[in-house]
Amino acid sequence: MKAPTIIVCIKAVPDPEGPRSAYEIHSDIKKVVPVGIPPVINPFDENALELAIQLKERWGGKVIALNMSEKAVIPILKKALSVGADELILVEDPSFQNLTSHATAQVLSAAIKKTEPFDLIVTGRQAADWDSGQVGLLIAGILNIPGINLVQRAELQDDKVIVEKLKRSGHEVVTAPLPALITVSSEMGALRLATLKAIQDAKRKPVTVWRAADLALDPAFLRTKAIRALTLPPSHSRTCLFIEGKSAVEKAENLALRLRKDRVI
């Protein structure tokens, strides 16, 4: 197996661990405005990055992190460089606002064509903002390469990728010739922490910015999402009866008695 070039698509999203109150819903402008929570690299993209770096450790080669946005959140995205990616490409243009999954995949595919020849593209299974779970497979379709969804483990061998792809119960072992694209699920494992030295080294790694005009893009591809409405989620709110007691034991006993009284059990 020759040293591979691996492209990882990453996106910045508001921290999905944030409380509900951190997501302000502006129905009038059909936008969700995060308040008081920092942007992070989409967690599934971090899983993808971890995989790419592990493969690079095994086979050598190069990891390129690729981001598309209307305005790049550079400090967040640079984390990719400090955990082991070799370069960061930012595809950034105001016209990339609110694109459909298909349009996003068109832009990313155009950017990928502009980079050097690659062996593997890795993306997260879905982004924590719109949760669409389409862009990775659409890129594979546009580039006409094999695309495998929901990967929990992957290895390269003899110009092929061999993966474990999640099924509802268990998994399937699947192989495809390179170049190929895989989407990664959280079962892959969390992204490593950056070492101090790696953070220092990252400062010397290249960051490239491309605009829409730098890419071979048909403007007709830049479709935007037709959002009719954006609202608060239906309330899961219930009235909680707090079970009291002098001790944990007494509370537990009172809970059992109460559930019996209310015929829950």
């Binding site: 508001p14 999905p16 661990e17 944030g18 509900r20 997501y23 819903i25 969700v32 999954s101 298909h102 995949a105 299974r125 903002d129 949760d131 669409s132 779970g133 389409q134 497979l137 659409l138 379709g141 546009i142 390469i145 969804n149 929901l150 061999i162 474990e164 999640l166 099924k167 509802r168 119960s169 268990g170 998994h171 399937e172 072992v173 699947v174 192989t175 495809a176 699920s185 479709r223 037709a226 009719r228 609202t231 989620p233 899961h236 709110s237 009866l241 707090f242 079970i243 001790s247 944990a248 034991v249 509370k251 537990a252 006993e253 809970l255 059992a256 109460r258 559930l259 829950v264 059990i265």
Partner: protein, 330 residues
């Protein structure tokens, strides 16, 4: 000519999957307002008996039966569906938001060059325009969007358990074999074999679920929850142990026990959430439970607001006493 709504059927252990009957119900409700004909499509090899079964639910069942389709392979399945869509020109295509269709749907959308909306919890047909209005939770369930699909075929995946199953009809619809040119080279990936899950868990069938979250950090903690599962079997026919995603990612419980946005959607009589904070992503799977009991040491945890009963306390202290009491109630 009547417009069609095509429901892409799925099989599970050799039978029609529950999601398919839910999609047929969704399709039936859509057709009431739009006047479309709902039909089903079953793809596989030797699936004639499944087509027979489906025919009791719809007027037309399209069967794509080919040795190449004996196992699910998304490139081949999407090629078959593409051929069907090009022939029937349906207005709408409904798929399940299931493991297989998470791969099938985007591949079909790419071939058709159309937009797809995934993980819908409600779909409606707009009067006049005929557009499909797709309600989809976003930001992990912290907001809800309504997206418009205009161009046919309007493709969506629908979240399991948001619709009831369609009831079986008395009359049998027409079974229509559909032939399309499939060659093995259309499959860009090759399967080397299926590895079954370590355990069979049926969270969706459970009457009661004990679910552990991030705060349950140890094997001992899991064992306590298992003790609670056992004692609840005095009260419920089927009790299962579940988990929120952090416990599964930590490797403490298997993925088949995961409840939430990327796990199972459940609706038991009783859901006991132990040391779960109650993020929107988890409630997307647990919110349909009839009664929710929460045990959490953090009085400010969001999940109390989504619970019917709550105890503020260390689960390590509460759960053993709860088990003891449940074992003695007559």
């Amino acid at each position: 000519m009547t417009d069609r709504i095509v429901v892409v059927a799925e099989q599970e252990e050799g039978r029609i999957a529950p999601i398919t009957l839910e999609l047929l119900k969704t399709g039936a409700e859509l057709s009431q307002h739009g006047g479309d004909a709902v039909c089903a499509c079953i793809i596989g090899y030797g699936v004639g008996h499944l087509a027979d079964e489906l025919a009791y639910y719809v007027g037309e069942v399209y069967v794509i039966d080919d040795p190449l389709l004996s196992g699910f392979q998304a490139d081949l399945y999407s090629s078959a569906l593409e051929a069907l869509c090009c022939t029937l020109a349906p207005r709408t295509v409904l798929m399940g938001h299931t493991y297989d269709s998470l791969e099938l749907a985007p591949k079909l959308a790419c071939k058709m060059g159309n937009d797809l909306v995934t993980d819908c919890v409600k779909i409606e047909r707009e009067k006049g325009t005929g557009f499909l209005l797709c309600t989809k939770p976003i930001y992990g369930g912290n907001a809800v969007s309504v997206l418009e699909l205009a161009t046919a075929p309007q493709m969506v995946t629908v979240r399991p358990k948001v619709a009831e199953a369609l009831e079986k009809g008395r009359t049998k619809g027409e079974i229509i074999p559909f032939c399309c040119e499939l060659v093995s080279s259309m499959a860009l990936t090759e399967s080397l074999g299926l590895v079954p899950g370590e355990e069979t868990v049926s969270l969706t069938q459970a009457n009661a679920i004990v679910a552990g979250g991030r705060g349950v950090k140890t094997i001992e903690g899991i064992q306590q929850l298992q003790g609670l599962v056992e004692v609840l079997k005095r009260y419920f026919v089927k009790v299962e142990l579940g988990a929120s995603r952090p416990l599964v990612d930590e490797g403490l419980l298997s993925r088949s026990r995961q409840i939430g946005q990327t796990g199972e959607k459940v609706n038991p009589q009783l859901y006991i959430a132990v040391a779960i904070s109650g993020a929107a992503q988890h409630m997307a799977g647990a919110g349909g439970s009839k009664k929710i009991v929460t045990i959490n040491k953090d009085a400010g945890a969001a999940i109390f607001g989504a619970s019917d009963y709550g105890i503020v306390g260390q689960y390590e202290d509460v759960v053993p006493a709860f088990i003891k009491k449940l074992a003695t109630l007559s």
